[in-house]
């Protein structure tokens, strides 16, 4: 029970911190970026949009900072995130909804794939300690994990689309193609997803392999594994049910966090491939100084991660009694 309360406290405080950060940053930064941006937009967007901005950033109103803050909290709670400048006059919410499916599809699938594959490879490589798999893979994946996402992406583009011409350069489907549920369209979507997906896989799988391998090595030294060996259980059973299951536990939180991070998209991968997901949208918002969109995206990403972490914590508490005891 005490554990649950601490988790809820953590959830609330982080949420509040993210909200407050969002509110304070544009107001506290040197040179008041909000004002500067508005000066640049004046005359270029219509008065309505201007007014919406003024309200959003507390310019020209006589409200105190505290009043603005309360206003902002109420607005956010009611789901009124303001209007996007880049896509005026669409509200921020519906703009984001267009990008979300792409990101969920691409990054979500690859995150799960990387976790599953990485865990299996890590488990087997620790089980066959010193075997070919174990001596070849870790060094390779230490390297690929240190590769910046965008570099792997650039290499993929150079090799497979510029030099070989196997895959398209970017975007999520062939532009000009009607967005309908036909085989041609689905094929084009898959075709466009191969390179970004490969990039994410190559860069993120190494972390899973290495953690799983190290956890597994520690677990294999436990007495219950020796006991299982002494009982003469089949190796497969020992590997999966005795060692593997326990070695997996510490990785669950990490996996949940990375599921939360799916929402943020692989920002740099989406950028390199001009993939129209949430990460790419965040960068577009940054480029156009579309603060409303930027803030909402940041908030959305934080909340997603937060929910994922708390769910993972609770799941771990359910699966692993030791966590509960420690409180």
């Amino acid at each position: 029970m005490r554990y649950l309360i601490r988790r809820i406290e953590f959830f609330m405080i982080t949420l509040w911190a993210a909200l407050t950060l969002n509110f304070l940053l544009p107001r506290l930064m040197p040179g008041n970026p909000a004002l500067a941006m508005m000066a640049r937009y004046r005359g270029r967007v219509n008065p309505q949009a201007m007014h919406a901005l003024e309200v959003a950033f507390g310019v020209g109103t006589n409200q105190s900072l505290l009043e603005q803050y309360l206003h902002y909290l109420v607005n956010t709670a009611q789901g009124r995130f303001g209007t996007s400048l880049t896509f005026f006059p669409e509200p921020v919410g519906s703009v984001i909804m267009q990008a979300l499916p792409w990101t969920l599809g691409l990054v979500g699938t690859t995150t799960v794939m990387a976790f599953v594959l990485g865990t299996v490879v890590g488990m087997v490589s620790a089980w066959r300690r010193g075997g070919t798999l174990d001596s070849v893979l870790p060094p390779i994946f230490i390297m690929t994990s240190a590769f910046p996402y965008f570099f792997t992406g650039l290499l993929c583009i150079l090799i497979f689309s510029v030099a070989l011409g196997w895959f398209p350069l970017g975007f999520s489907y062939t532009l000009g193609q009607p967005v309908t549920l036909t085989w041609a369209f689905i094929g084009s979507v898959l075709d466009h997803a191969v390179l970004p997906a490969a990039t994410i896989l190559i860069t993120s799988i190494g972390g899973w392999i290495l953690t799983m391998r190290n956890n597994m090595i520690t677990t294999l030294a436990e007495d219950y594994v020796r006991m299982a060996r002494a009982k003469g259980l089949s190796p497969l059973r020992i590997m999966l049910h005795y060692a593997g299951r326990n070695a997996l536990l510490p990785n669950l939180t990490g996996f949940a966090m990375s599921l939360g991070f799916v929402i943020s998209g692989a920002i740099l991968v989406e950028y390199v491939f001009s993939y129209p997901g949430v990460g790419f949208m965040l960068l577009q918002a940054v480029e156009n100084e579309d603060y409303a969109l930027m803030q909402t995206l940041f908030l959305l990403i934080t909340v997603a991660v937060l929910v994922a972490v708390v769910v993972a914590d609770l799941a771990t508490a359910l699966l692993d009694p030791r966590t509960r005891a420690r409180g």
Binding site: F10, S145, T302
Partner: protein
């Protein structure tokens, strides 16, 4: 999951009170192949950063050459679309990239040590508050936050970049150091120091910190790796100072000129490779440190004999 998590999540075995002398460390590094590879890579980049003028024939910012030349003896890696020598740019850029890595590494580690150890040592309410702050920083998505911060800060100077990376990069280490410090808090030698009447600061600096040397070094390496990748990413998308000489900035200009598509791929690939190699150097060292401080993870060869009798 990123590499920091991967490397740092390795089980932390309780350290004894042994202090790694420098010679011990040097021997350990030499006998570990991953560590040696990391040290050699790092040494090469340090030479590039310290004496770039010895390695390059041209001024890196000079635009006096024919643009977009293919690699030749005069221009080892060709020239950029602006007529700069790519090799010169590459070598001179090492300085800023390395500076960011080391600067962020040191500062972030310092913050982690202060917060983590203070939390563990003080206990009670201060611990609760500090841990909560650490957890909050841990969960807030880093890269989006960096992007947002860097935008508001008007893609500014090197100092801003370093500050942003430190703010977003210290929490992971703080949490690890806290749990490590907690595990030594009740050891006898600390009790002895307290009974001797030593002040808290003395106990922390002289008694606790030396037991955590390897974890602190690992944290420095992890933070440096993070800084290399994040800084390059930020500069690549144009949130750095575009007139600086660094690998990220080179990537930015190359990407803006579609270097890959118009036939000068080296302009874009080489700085990316340098970032990857510098990151690899830190990652290798980090991994090797895990092996040095946790014998269970060492390559199997030396342990096989022991295993054979085991099973």
């Amino acid at each position: 999951m990123d590499i920091r998590g991967a490397l740092a999540d390795a089980p932390v075995t309780g350290p004894g009170r042994r202090r790694h002398g420098f010679t011990d460390l040097a021997r350990a590094v030499r006998s570990n192949r991953k560590a040696s590879a990391g040290v050699i890579l790092l040494a090469l980049f340090s030479i590039m950063a310290l004496v770039p003028q010895w390695l390059t024939p041209y001024d890196p910012q000079s635009t006096s050459f024919r643009p977009s030349l293919a690699p030749s003896l005069r221009h080892l890696l060709g020239t950029t679309a602006y007529g700069q020598d790519v090799w010169s740019q590459l070598v001179w850029s090492a300085r800023e990239s390395l500076l960011i890595a080391v600067g962020v590494g040191l500062l972030a580690t310092a913050v982690s040590v202060i917060v983590g150890v203070a939390a563990a040592y003080l206990g009670g309410l201060p611990d609760h508050v500090l841990s909560l702050v650490t957890d909050v920083f841990l969960v807030i998505p880093t890269f989006p936050l960096i992007v947002v911060l860097a935008t508001y800060a008007k893609s500014g100077s090197l100092t801003v970049l370093i500050a942003v990376l430190v703010v977003t990069g210290w929490s992971y280490g703080a949490r690890q150091l806290r749990s490590q410090a907690l595990s030594v808090r009740n050891r006898e030698f600390l009790e002895a120091a307290r009974v001797r009447g030593e002040r808290s600061l003395y106990v922390i600096v002289v008694e606790i910190l030396p037991t955590m040397t390897s974890l602190i070094v690992a944290n420095f390496l992890g933070a440096a790796l993070y800084a290399v990748l994040a800084a390059a990413g930020l500069q690549f998308i144009g949130l750095g100072n575009a007139s600086d000489l660094s690998w990220g900035t080179m990537l930015y200009w190359a990407e803006n000129n579609s270097a890959l598509q118009v036939g000068s791929p080296l302009w874009e690939i080489m700085p990316g490779a340098c970032v990857a190699l510098l990151g690899t150097a830190f990652a290798l060292l980090n991994y090797a440190f895990d092996e040095i401080s946790n014998p269970a993870l060492r390559p199997a060869g030396r342990r096989r004999a022991a295993r054979a009798t085991d099973s």
